[in-house]
Subunit: 385 residues, 2 copies
């Protein structure tokens, strides 16, 4: 009776893949070999220059709280990066350093959403997005997206799904779980659609840099009203350091700072000092080698899966995911994922973790493991299917 | 028009002290010497064994996400600590590792509070508490506390202020900004009062370990329903690492894990590995030396302030704060804080940062600076007042 749990917790779901991961670890402990294609982070460790900068900061005693919005030098460095990488001027004042893109998503939604107001988002999509909105008593409108729009929201989705209480739409490019991109044209059209309705587009650019065909356009070049999220987790290889950022319109700077102060106090200090080395030439060289390696893996795994009968209608151009239709093999991808794990020791993420749009027909394969492991995985799948 | 900010942001206030801190930095840049007594974190750096463990983890490539609720070894280590330090058995499953006590406060309130439900808390109190509740559309009932209850909530406050929509009460012992403790008896009475109303007591124990008279009793020894918050920030000297924990009743484990997954993904990995060294004998020896030093500072600053005419009716037994009535000198402690900074280069935190109960009559002095600086500060105050 004392232990009453808030109602929102009925709607907030755990990651289903965790049960599979736990089972995979159990099997490994029993001596089984498991090919891990369920993991949503690079297998690489943090580039050495970043690690060394982190260690130097620790040795120098840089362990106190930083300003809530981040070290001035890091905000500058991120602004410089936009200038060098994308030719875009972003005043450092608009850059809020956060505990991961996770922290940035919370800040963005907390600054935007009133209770009862809705956010449009793609289904399938990154699962946490809907729960940030739920936490804030917002409404989530999950839009079933298909290959027709490369699993992305399009301006015609905005036309169809926008309601009077809709406040914002959220997209990710490259996206999780599909790895697909929004072209600059589509992104511009989305912005136009959302902003003409006096709404705000939130753009999650966490997989920027991990792109294998073309380039991912940043929304910062197209709108001064968009809220743009990024992170040191994926491209920069710093997942466990918990560091990201949020770029806000000028009008939101005060709100974002107040939220950062009260919700986080600040992001990790050693991580921030370490990240100062993320934009160094020697780091960027390492990151480019890794990008090429991810591309090589994709170019191996994607045709391999397709030739086995997995349907992947849109070529994933970025991130490290392949979202594959497995309905040829099973009517229930969750059961199928469990089966693959038990029978052949191949771990993948079931579609249910990303929404409810045809999720029982899909699996997400992550190529966050070595070529050898991917080869072994494909071999096992081939023998089994 | 696109840049509409959510209504909650009207209620969420920035830390007022930040403006003073910025001004202090400006004065310092102009060559003025400033005595900092406004800073809410230890001036000491992280104990060497913890730093070395962090560096070793980085060198070993431990930079990937950990489980959302924390490294199993760290949850064990915290459980062992409760056993050794307080003679209390806490199953590691009930311990959720978080990004600071800040993360723990967010988890606790998100798991407990429905929109419109209220939390009772002391005014003055740690400012962020009310904004976590506000974020979740909860109500905040700030109870004006006085020296009569050592600025703590008492069971008679619960009797007077509990309403049908009250879900929980929150206390901190030692408290910020007052440094006062709840005795084991008072804590037990509070728990009894709250739990007999089918409510939940949240107990923030972040300043445990920094106690100079008696001992702070942990609520874990008194209730299986309380939510208990702690952190590596203050006693363990790890503020910028962003690591804390939340102990939840058994019934809340699932909810807390789902929230940790979705809101944070996980706490910092290097910080978690580093914290494994926090309970080592050699670390604890360093921490004890520091505790003694804090006590020495309090024993110097407190009589000094009192003899100048600051009224401190309750001796602060813990943390590193003195909450002083300055109404003999000024009717507006915020203006007075600004005056002290401009005129004599003494930086303190104005009462308004901690609530609205007699806040214009109070200042918070933090003894998070050296004895020499405290001496200098007192000398300047004496000459000026
Ligand atoms: C699309 C997307 N956004 C945000 C995140 C959160 O990442 P982090 O908090 O580590 O930056 C993830 C992590 O997997 C993601 O896939
Ligand atoms: C009473 C109290 N609780 C919680 C916190 C949050 O600390 P952290 O998030 O660094 O653990 C603080 C920080 O000053 C505090 O004073």
């Amino acid at each position: 009776m004392n232990d009453r749990i808030a109602r929102r917790m009925e709607d907030i779901k755990p990651f289903q893949v965790m049960a599979l991961l736990a089972r995979a670890r159990e099997l490994e402990a029993q001596g089984r070999s498991i090919v891990h294609m369920e993991i949503g982070e690079p297998d690489f460790i943090t580039p050495q220059p970043i690690v060394e900068a982190g260690i130097a900061a620790l040795r120098a005693g840089r362990i106190h709280y930083t300003p809530a919005v981040g070290l001035p030098a890091l905000r500058e460095a991120i602004a410089n990066w936009y200038s060098k990488d994308a030719g875009i001027t972003v005043p450092p004042e608009r850059i809020i350093v956060t505990p991961g893109a996770s922290g940035a998503l919370l800040l963005a939604m907390a600054a935007l959403l009133n209770p009862g107001e809705a956010v449009l988002m793609a289904d399938p999509g990154y699962p946490c997005n809907r729960y940030f909105a739920r936490l804030l008593e917002g409404k989530i409108i999950g839009i079933p997206v298909t290959e027709a729009s490369a699993y992305q929201l399009s301006s015609s989705h905005i036309d169809s799904y926008w309601t009077p209480e809709t406040r914002a739409a959220l997209v990710a490019s490259p996206a999780n779980p599909t790895g697909t991109l929004l072209s600059q044209t589509s992104l511009a059209a989305l912005i136009e659609s959302v902003e003409s309705r006096m709404g705000t587009l939130i753009v999650d650019e966490i997989y920027h840099g991990l792109v294998y065909e073309g380039r991912a356009a940043t929304a910062l070049g197209l709108s001064e009203h968009a809220l743009v999220i990024n992170s040191f987790s994926k491209y920069f290889g710093m997942t466990g350091w918990r560091l990201g950022w949020l770029v806000v319109p000028k009008n939101f700077i005060g709100a974002a700072e107040k939220l950062a102060q009260n919700l986080f106090l600040a992001a990790s200090t050693p991580a921030q000092y370490a990240a100062l080395a993320a934009f160094k030439l020697e780091t960027l060289k390492v990151l480019e080698t890794r990008r090429v390696e991810f591309q090589r893996r994709r170019d191996f795994l994607l045709p391999g899966l397709r030739s086995l009968g997995f349907h992947v209608p849109v070529t994933p151009q970025g991130a490290f995911y392949i979202y594959a239709d497995c309905s040829q093999f099973s009517a229930d991808s969750f059961a199928f994922a469990r089966e693959l794990l038990e029978e052949i020791g191949v771990a993948v993420t079931p579609g249910v973790d990303f929404g409810c749009n045809a999720s029982r027909q899909h699996l997400r394969f992550a190529y966050t493991t070595s070529m050898e492991q991917l080869q072994e995985g494909l071999k096992r799948l081939q023998a089994y299917l």
